[in-house]
Structure formats: structure tokens, C-alpha cells
Symmetry: C2
């Protein structure tokens, strides 16, 4: 078998950097969501770009699938070896290679996690702002075009990756982009590889933009009588140019989940959780203007906090919405989280339609979202042993994806395609899908780079 031949050759070159230990394989076959456990045939732990290049060459010779593996926090099964082959576990390539404080950029290996990076940056007065919640690896975040709560202010990985080093499907090592802030020199390969989910090459080095740590930070929660008022508050805030750092919405069901799990005392109404970054005076001004907008829109129940511990508790609660949601159902039930994104003007409509659909299907569903971007997640509780209910959950997510497309949106704002969303690629992209397929064929003609993911033809 060609995969076994590849593993034999890998073991002979890389020795104990290659594992076929059952528990290691099993750990790499897990996912944080509903996909069945799918262990690879081997896990290889490269220590350098040269290692990655040599590993890829061996796999290319033997037609062996290669799937990069960061921290395994994907919600769409990106890292699963569904056609066998090897997981390339990047955890030993976890060095911050260079901090350029004057240029506000940093060069990292792909196994560096975002929390590790921010710890290493602490003394510089700089930070890396993209925050998907999970302590993901920066390679994984780049590969899935991740974002999160701070994208409204600082952008997504699309906006924050300046340059990459990539090992191509034949082992060639290329560099895309430079440390210059902008360039008009040729095709933007950096942006092509960001979000390519390991299907075009392996990311071995990343240059990231950094931000200055804000002098002052304050956060707040407020509630609204209905969802439209919350969304109108978001629209006005963004239109007025208030450089809000986070503006998250929480629906009434999730407020209940938070109260149950975190013992918070939120009114069971739609909420916005917000954060301001800036100078002391700037934050004060932003907060005042925002407060005026909230009042105009009929919001109430203000809770401001400038204490770091209160803010940490607030965002911990938000980042753990999944557990809040789980608190609403039996501990044996599972929760499935979806991800769609629409223009902000369609957000209230999308949330209403999602609620109506969930009610129609008799599901327990809550929503949270990055309101400034029009990106939201619906989480549905279900009993995985109840086949009929599980099928209703899939009916709901299917309807939600179709609805997002009908509202000028996308089936994924930040979780990526992976396995879970492949069936919507044709509806979302139409004839542009074939262009993606053409690019994939041109750059990975053997289809050894994460085969079976993202592109239905792959």
C-alpha cells in the first residue's frame, strides 16, 4: 500500500518523530464536534521547515495524504484523515522567531498558539488581537481564516497575516509577501493560502501584524427589548466610526444559559456585550457615545466595568457560550454549533428566521454572534442517540445555510468549510467554484494535500 510505504520511508528518515502508537493516532482522530473518530495512519512531528519539505517529498513519492494538525480545535473536521495518510502535527514548531517591535510585526512558527504569542509579547507593549476563543495554533488560524470577537476592530486572519512560508505539494519551499505593510507586486499568494485549509500547501512560517496594547480598556453589557433594537445599535455605532473593539450579541435563550451555568443575573432578553480600547479619554468618549445610542434604541440594564477581573469574567462567559448552552439540556445531550455570516442590515432578519425555523422543528437553540460583522453562531442541544432529533438538527443547519446565502451572506464567517460545509460550496460560489478547483489542480495535481476537504471534487 502506498500509505504504508510512505510511513516506512518516514520512519527510516525521521525515527521517533513518527508515531503509529494507537493512543496518539486516536487522539489525532478526535474532533470537537459530531464527526466520527478518524485516526490517521501515522502522526509525524516535524521540527523545521526542512523536515516538512522532506516529509512532503516522501508522501508525494508515495501518494500519501498529508493533513496539517495544529491544536485540533476545528469545528468542521479540517484535521481528520478521512482518506488515511499522515497528520503533520506542528506542535514542535512552536518558536516565536522574531519580534519587530518598531514595525509592529512578528514572525512565528505555525505551532505557536495565540495565548503563547501574547505571553511572549507582553513586555513589548504589543499584542496580537485575533481571538477565536479557543487557544488555537496560529498555523491553524491562518489555514482556516479564523477570527472571533475582535474582528470588528482588528480584522480577521485575512487582514493580519502579512507573509507566509509554505511547503508546496512537491516539497518546494516558497515565501509569499514581505514585511512591508503593502505591495502591488504580483498575485496576492498570501491571501490565497490564508483560508486554504491545508489543501494547497503546508504553512511553515507566518508573519503577523501586531497592535499596540491599549492604554485603557472598558467593557459593558446592556439588554434590549427586541433583536432589531440591538442590531440598530450596532449599525449606528459602526456608522458613527466608533472604533469599538468587541460588539457581541447574545440572544434571550443564551442569557438564560449563562444564568444557569455562570450564576449571572442577566435579564432573559437580547444583549450586547461590548469592549472599548483606546486612550483613557478616548475610551470614556466612546463609551459615552455608545451609551447614548443604546438609550436612543431603547436598551437598558447597563453594566459597565473597567476592572480587568470583571472583564475577564465577562469574556470567559462569552467564550464559554457552549457550556452555557449545554446547561439548558441533559448532560448526556450534545450541542452542535453552526456559523453563518450576513450583511449587518440582514442580521435581525436572519436571527428571526433562525428562531422561527428552530421553533418549527421543536429544537432547543440559542444564538450568539459577532454583531459588528453580521456573523453568528446557533447552538442546538440534541440527544445524539435520538436519530429523529439528530436529523432535525441537520435539517435546521441546512436551512440556516440556505437562508444565509439568500440574505447575501456566506455559510461560514469563521469556522471554515472542512468536511461539514462542503455541500454548500456550489450554492455559495456558483461558477467560481470551478476556478478554485482549477487552482487546486494546478498546485496539487496529485491531490495529496488534505484530500476530501473544502472542494467537493477534491
Amino acid at each position: 500500500m502506498s500509505i504504508q510505504a510512505a510511513i516506512k520511508a518516514l520512519k527510516s528518515t525521521f525515527g521517533d518523530q513518527v508515531s503509529t502508537n494507537a493512543s496518539v493516532l486516536d487522539a489525532h482522530g478526535q474532533s470537537e464536534t459530531y464527526f466520527p473518530v478518524t485516526p490517521p495512519d501515522a502522526v509525524v512531528f516535524p521540527k523545521s521547515t526542512a523536515d516538512v519539505s522532506d516529509i512532503v517529498k516522501i508522501c508525494a513519492t508515495n501518494d500519501c495524504p498529508i493533513i496539517a494538525y495544529g491544536t485540533g480545535t476545528s469545528l468542521e473536521g479540517h484535521q481528520l484523515a478521512i482518506r488515511g495518510g499522515i497528520n503533520l502535527d506542528m506542535s514542535r514548531m512552536n518558536t516565536v522567531l522574531a519580534i519587530h517591535a518598531e514595525d509592529m510585526d512578528v514572525v512565528v512558527q505555525p505551532g505557536v498558539t495565540r495565548i503563547q504569542l501574547n505571553e511572549e509579547l507582553r513586555a513589548t507593549g504589543l499584542f496580537f488581537p485575533v481571538d477565536p476563543g479557543a487557544n488555537a495554533s496560529l498555523g491553524g488560524m491562518a489555514a482556516t481564516r479564523a477570527s472571533g470577537t475582535t474582528a470588528v476592530r482588528y480584522g480577521t486572519m485575512r487582514d493580519n497575516v502579512m507573509a507566509l512560508e509554505i511547503v508546496m505539494a512537491d516539497g518546494r519551499i516558497i515565501r509569499t509577501g514581505t514585511r512591508a505593510r503593502k505591495s502591488s507586486a504580483g498575485y496576492d499568494l498570501t491571501k490565497l493560502f490564508v483560508g486554504s485549509e491545508g489543501t494547497l500547501g503546508i504553512i511553515t512560517e507566518i508573519t503577523l501584524r501586531l497592535q499596540g496594547q491599549p492604554e485603557s480598556v472598558s467593557a459593558a453589557t446592556c439588554s434590549f427589548p427586541d433583536f432589531e433594537s440591538a442590531v440598530n445599535t450596532v449599525i449606528t455605532t459602526v456608522q458613527m466610526g466608533i472604533p469599538i473593539a468587541r460588539i457581541e450579541f447574545i440572544d434571550e435563550m443564551m442569557a438564560r444559559g449563562f444564568n444557569l451555568h455562570f450564576k449571572s443575573k442577566l435579564p432573559e432578553l437580547p444583549h450586547l456585550f461590548v469592549e472599548f480600547h483606546g486612550s483613557e479619554q478616548g475610551v470614556k468618549d466612546q463609551a459615552e457615545t455608545f451609551g447614548d445610542i443604546v438609550a436612543d434604541m431603547g436598551g437598558s440594564d447597563f453594566n459597565w466595568s473597567s476592572k480587568p477581573e470583571d472583564r475577564a469574567a465577562l469574556w470567559k462567559m462569552r467564550h464559554n457560550a457552549y457550556y452555557g448552552m449545554k446547561a439548558l439540556a441533559s448532560p448526556k445531550w450534545k450541542a452542535l454549533t453552526t456559523d453563518v455570516c450576513v450583511p449587518v442590515s440582514n442580521l435581525a432578519k436572519a436571527v428571526k428566521l433562525a428562531r422561527a425555523e428552530s421553533d418549527r422543528l421543536g429544537l432547543t437553540m440559542s444564538m450568539v454572534g459577532h454583531a459588528g460583522d453580521g456573523n453568528f453562531h446557533a447552538t442546538i442541544n440534541f440527544d445524539p442517540e435520538d436519530a429523529a432529533q439528530t436529523s432535525l438538527v441537520h435539517e435546521f443547519t441546512h436551512d440556516l445555510n440556505k437562508m444565509a446565502l439568500s440574505l447575501d451572506g456566506t455559510v461560514t464567517g469563521e469556522h471554515g468549510i472542512g468536511l461539514g460545509k462542503m455541500k454548500y460550496m456550489a450554492s455559495e460560489h456558483g461558477d467560481a467554484l470551478q476556478i478554485m478547483v482549477d487552482i487546486k489542480k494546478a498546485l496539487d495535481p496529485q491531490n495529496i494535500m488534505n484530500p476530501g476537504k473544502m472542494l467537493p471534487s477534491n
Copy 2:
């Protein structure tokens, strides 16, 4: 000849939308720089995406080169029909198709110019911020990944194009991206086409991000004893998170040019020209903090202006740096403008090396730049009839490009590759150049889309 067959077929389908009038051809063969006049064989004026698709199909059948043409303001010869064929003049596709004020986006045809767009947006309270100086078409700006003075705050076309409609080399019409603020659904084709200089397809529709018109704007000029102090001011300003809208540098030679041409009274020293956007209080705070930094760095000669007419005069002077520079030499002489971009920490070094090189070659050279991005332009006066001097000018620009690359930079921050910078593509991109070539071959196998540009193999 296949080109003649194409023109015959185009005339039979499109009638007077096809011109072979000598003066029309000659006008389209001009460039704003040193390239010889290069008229196309015909100019076609499409009125719709369907027209573009049909035109491309006819050209594909006849192997006829197609070069999109906006306003002809390229500085690197992008629009010149160096292998014959047709210019696709987009000036009749100049409709603003939809303004989505709540979502702060707009959908335009490619022939809309940036000034036209901002006039149509005036009543909405929104504006489109990217400002390359010239009143370029938005299609041309997208195709060359243009930027300009405001990129430090609002980004370049890379950051501001959300979605595109493209006619591919076989006439297929595709759409990339959506109006959602972000997406992780597949390869980022939008970013691949932005900056592709018409070599992969023809842009027929563009969705752009907009910004809220700032409540308050103020501008200022200040001078510095040396270039390092000016650059350190820029670095500190950006690191402190001051959301400066423009921060331009002017060298001592350009200050002299401005004084000669515009009758200004600038000290003949390095300058920064800056602009602040925000709330009234916000602009005041930004300006005060910036003033403190300037003082700390040894700057002086402050001139603040919040009057619109003074600001307009200031930026008119900056945008017409070319004429300031021309004032330094005989009216018969020409001026050549280059474009490189380096990490900001290398900007002072780059400017010093450029000055030393120009002095060594005995040239009259001045520099202006988008300091916040590390992007600068050197303009050299020369007598086009003096072959020896002209050759020294090319020696200078060659050395400048090499120097930018040696300082972790790029040979073009915003003007693009076109004809002028093709010879540096291999030095800048190394093995990544072949990936660009592979993509070009996959998407335009006949090489009819702007052949002879950007990629040396093209």
C-alpha cells in the same frame, strides 16, 4: 491575422462600440510615463457584463489579446497593448449600481472613478477612502491594488474590495465574495483578482467597503532637523494607536520644489504632512498627542489647519508633487516617479541610501512617501534627449529596487508591476513566482489576458 479576424467579428456584433479611429487608438496608446506610445489595434467600449463576456469569447476564439483600460493613469504601462489586440475601455460601464448605507458598502461598475463615487455618496454620510491622487477608475484601482495617502488608516484596495464580478478568459462570468464582512468559505478569489492587473480576467463589478464621513478633520505640517526624527515620529504615532488618517513625508528637495511651484514657504527640511479624522474631541486629542510626539522628536514649524480650504490646498500640493519636482528643472526635462515600500523601521535607512545613490550618480531627485506604510516615491528630473543621463536614471531606479528588496521590502507598494517592474519579479518572489505562473496558466491557458505584463513568462 487572428487579431484582424477578431476585430472584424467584434465590429459585426458591436458596431460603433468598436473603434479603429487613429486618434482613439493613439489616445489609448499613451502612458503617463516613459513608455513609447503603443496603440492597440482596436478599442471596444462595452456597456454591460454581457458585452464583456461576448467580447472575450470572440477574442478567445481568435487568440486576440485583451487589455482592460480605465482612465489610463497607470505609471507602469499596464494598459499598453504591447502585443497588439484590443483595449477594453470601461468608461461606459460607469454606474453606481447599489448603495447599502446600513452595511456601509457600495456596488459599482469598473468605470466609475473614485471622485464620481464620492460625489454620489455625499448625501449618505459615507465616503470611499482610498485615494491614489489621480482620479482613477475603481476597476483600475482594484486591478492594480492601488492605495495612496489614506492607506495608513483605511487600508489599500486589498482591504476595501469585498466582492467582484469577473469575466474569465473563456467568457465565463463568475462572482467572488459576498457582501458579508467576512467569510471562511474557500479560497479568497477576491484577493487573488485584486492586483492581478487584468492578467486573469476582466473585472466587471466591484463591491467596496465604505467609511462614515468623519465629524471633524484637521491637518498639519511640521518639519524635522533630519529624516530619522520624522520616521521616529511616525513609528511612535502608529505604536501609540493614534488612528492617524494621513501621515506623509516630504524630503528637503521636495519642500524646495513646493516653494518654487506653489509659492509655499516651507523650510527646506524633511516634513510630515498629517491629517486626523474623528469626533471633534477625538481629533483634538489625537492632534495634541501627535504634537507632543513631534516636540519630543525635535520637530518644529507647526502649521495646523482645520479650515477645509487650507486642507484642500495642502493635499493638492502633496498630490501634485510631480509638478513641484518639475519646477526644479528645465521645462523640457521629464520626471520619472518610482515606487518602493519597506518596513517602517527601515524607512530612514532606505531614504538615506536613495539620497546617497542619487548624489553618486549626479541626479536631481526628491522623495515623498506614505510614511505610515513605509512606502515612498523618488522622482528624478532628467533630459530625455540626453541618453547618458537617461541611463543613469534607470541605474538609479534599478539600485533603488534592489535596495528595497535587501531591506525586507517590495519593489512596488502601490503602482504595480505592469511593464516597468517585471524584471524584479524573480528577485522579489523567488520560487513563489512559479506558483503565480501556474495559476496564470490554469486560468488563462491561451494567454490572451493582458499578455506581456506582470509575469516575465506571460
